[in-house]
Structure formats: C-alpha cells, structure tokens
Amino acid sequence: MTMLLEADNITAGYGAVTVLRNLSLHLSDNESIGLFGPNGHGKTTLLMTISGLVRPSSGSIRYDGVDITLNRASDIGAAGLAHSPQGNTLFGEMGVAEILELSAFTRRAKVQRKTQMERVYSLFPRLAERQKQLARTLSGGERQMLSIGCALMCAPRLLMLDEPTLGLSPKLKEELGIAVADIAKSGTPLVVVEQDVQFLLSLTDRLYMIEHGEVVREIDRTDAPDHAEIMKLYFGGDSDD
C-alpha cells in the first residue's frame, strides 16, 4: 500500500503560539480519513500546514512520494492537493461560473475542466442556477458549495474539506453531506474535518482525534466506538492527555 500523504512529527503555529505539537498522520492511496476534536485544538492549522499556508517549524510532509514541507501553497495546489478552507469567502466580486472556471487554473486541472464543471453542477444544482451571481451575494450554504466546487475543479488527487457543514441548517447540512458522500464514493481520497463523528464514520475509513495539537486517538471504522463513548471522548476527558 503506497502512502498518498504522510505528515511526520509536525510542529507549527503562529508567531510565538505553537498549535501543532509533533503531530503525525498518514493516508494511503485509496482511503479517506476524518479529523475531529474540540475547537481550537489545531485541526484547521493542520490542514493549512499541509497545503502550505502555514510553515511548520519542524517535521516533514510528504505527498505522493514527494517532500512538500517547504513548497508554496500554489505549487501544492497545482500538484492536485485541493483544500476547501473553513468559512471560505472566496472571490466576492466574481461570478459563480467564472470562479469555477478559474479554479481549474493549473495545467492538470485545465484538461478536466469541462467534466469537472458538469460534475460540480450535478452535485450542486443550486450553483448551476446561480452561475452569473456574484459570490458575495450567495448564502452561507451556497458559498460552502462553491468552495467545495472550486476544490473539485482543481481535479484533486486528494481533497481536504474543513468543516463543510459548519453553521448550516439541518436541511442544508444533509444536502451537503450527501454531496460529500458522493465525492467520497467516486474514489477521491478525502481528509475531512468535522465535529459530527457519526457523519465522519459514514464517510471515511479512519478517524484521528486531535487535542492540544496532538493525535490523542486513532479510530478504525471497523472497531468504532458507539455514541456514548464518543460523547465521553469529547466531554469526559477520557483521553490520556
């Protein structure tokens, strides 16, 4: 089994604040993983470090067999590691279709522009209805769809989604959940950050629980804990931290 993504002993943060401490995780070529844990404990920073937006102070990241630790975000994106960041505001003054077209920016993405575009519109019919609309006039849910759509337009080898259903109504949450499940089923490996562990279990093969910038627990879908146990993980302080 080849590894698609390997993060090895990552330490990273902002200025004097260290967020990630010697964090390691991996993802093989045809699996998806989920990340969960309390807010503010480093999940978003981890994704940003992987996609080159935050420089790690130590450790290394390998993607598709290549060391990308010090690569630029744009080069990492160009290599097919797509990242749909949390609460993405995107390009407010551009239209939906224009943004999607632009998102197939790199050479490898350009080739697949048409098919990916069709895929995005069939996943999110709402976006197809709003092709001309400026991004800043979209609702929160639609922006989230557009953000995932952009990541898909990059023709991803690996897709990282940071809380795709954050702050959405139950109905929209379900709609997006179905779309994300659809992407997972199509065979694109995913790294998904979510609070909803049941949702993650239905979507991914393994879960990492992240607390204080460290992996405190790794869970395989086959021996997944039940609901009560998960609640305990969150609130009971059961972890060995």
Partner: protein
Amino acid sequence: MTEAMIATILSGLVLGSLYAMMASGLSVVWTTLGVFNFAHGALMTLGAYVAWTISEYLGLGLAAGMVAGTLAAALAGIVIERLLVRPFYTNRNMLLITVMTTLAAMIIIEKGTQVIWGPRLKQLPRIADGELFIFGSAISVHEALIVLIAPVTLIALWAFTARTLTGRSLRAAGQNQTAAALIGIHVPHAYGLAYALSAGLAGFTGVLLGSIRFLTPTLGSEPLVKAMTVVILGGLGSLGATAGAAFVIGFLEAFLVLTVGLYWTPSLLFLTMIVVLIFRPNGLFGGRS
C-alpha cells in the same frame, strides 16, 4: 451646434481618453494589490523619455520608441513592486507605507530623469501629421488617434482581466490571496504581473502624452493629479467606473475651460470632487469601499 461647443467636445474626448488610460492603470494595481501607486505619473515620464531616446536620439523611429517606452516602464514597475511593495505585504500599515515608498519611487524616477536627460525640453513626434475637420472644428490626426487608441486599449484591458485565465487570476489574487493560492495561483507572480501591466500602460500613455506636450521630468505629475481626481470620483474598484469617471472629468474640464477659463478650472474641478465626496464618500460610481 456652435464651433466652440464642438471644439469643447473634441477636447473633452482627448482629455477623457488620456485620463481613462492613466486612471485604469492605477485601478489595475489598486484592485490587485491594494496599493495606490504614486509613481504612476513618473512611470509615464520614464516611458516618454525612453521613447524619445530610441525614436529621436537614436533615430530608430516612433514605433520602436513606443515599444521601448512601454517595456521600460513595465520593467520599472516590476522593480518597484519587487523592492518597494512586496516587502510590506504582511505589514498592518501597508496602505500608508506603500503610499510613501511609491512616492519615494516617484522622486527617484523624476529626479533621475532630470539627471540623465537634463532639463532641456524635448518633444516626441506625432503618430501622424495633418488635421481632421469635424463639423468645421479642427482636431489633429494625432489627437484623433488617441481618442481611438484609448477605448481600444481599455477594452483590451477589460477583456484581459475579465475573459482570460491569467487576467482573472490577477483579480482573484486581489480579492482573496489565500483562496487564490489554494487553486494554484502563484500570488507574488500575479502581483508582479499586475504592476508590470499597469506600469506598461503608464509608459504607453506617457509616449502618447509626450507628443502633445513637451517632455519635462514632471511631465506625469500634473496628469497624475487629474487621474487622482478621476479615481476619487469613479472609485478604484472597477475599470468601467474608472473609465466613466475619466470621461466625465475630461468633458467637465473642457467645458469649464470654455466657460470660466483655464485659471479657475482646477478649483472648480476640485470643488466638484469635494461636493461629490460629501454626498458619496465612496465616489460617484463607487458602491462600496
């Protein structure tokens, strides 16, 4: 229509065309980098002088001079972005600091021009000689060509930023650096390209201006002030609004010169701008800041 009115309209068209080309250059840098380039006028001057050197001093012809002037200004723009703007991207006071660094760049170019080419007046040849008569009013062929070149340039610029992938990437980098990087746009390259484009446009405008006016080291500073008035009125956000405001100012100026005379025109233009700003703090066409 009286002859004076036609002359005024023609003069307004020429002025508006020049202002539109200047202000749209300012707008490109503003919308992409969030920087107001004070050196824009000086880049015009530089373009005109380089064109003069190639065209007149070396005798290689105006076309070669035009290309050289445009390229020289674009190159200077890249240098300004690299040395005077890029180091401050992450600075909290980037807006104010880049006003000062580009002001410094303006001084360096302006005084540098004076040191290199000396204070003696120079003039570029016209693109074409002769005059046209429109409803009995004369306009030089050169000025008529400027009136044609400006919209073509502006439409080309608009088409580039709105229709091409590279042009769109500039706008994207201006609106959201992080999101742009994530889809594979090399943001520093986009910034450099936007600066080069704007500066090249400034150089080209300078060449056109240099065959209407005499070349002096301060050739670009008075037009820069006009271009500022234009961007205050039109806002800096969109090319269309900027170009619209440029023609409004151009016609207003031509009309004021006709009615109140050359001396009071600047004051009345300024007054107009202040009145507009009192009612619309984001400019005449500016929706948001």
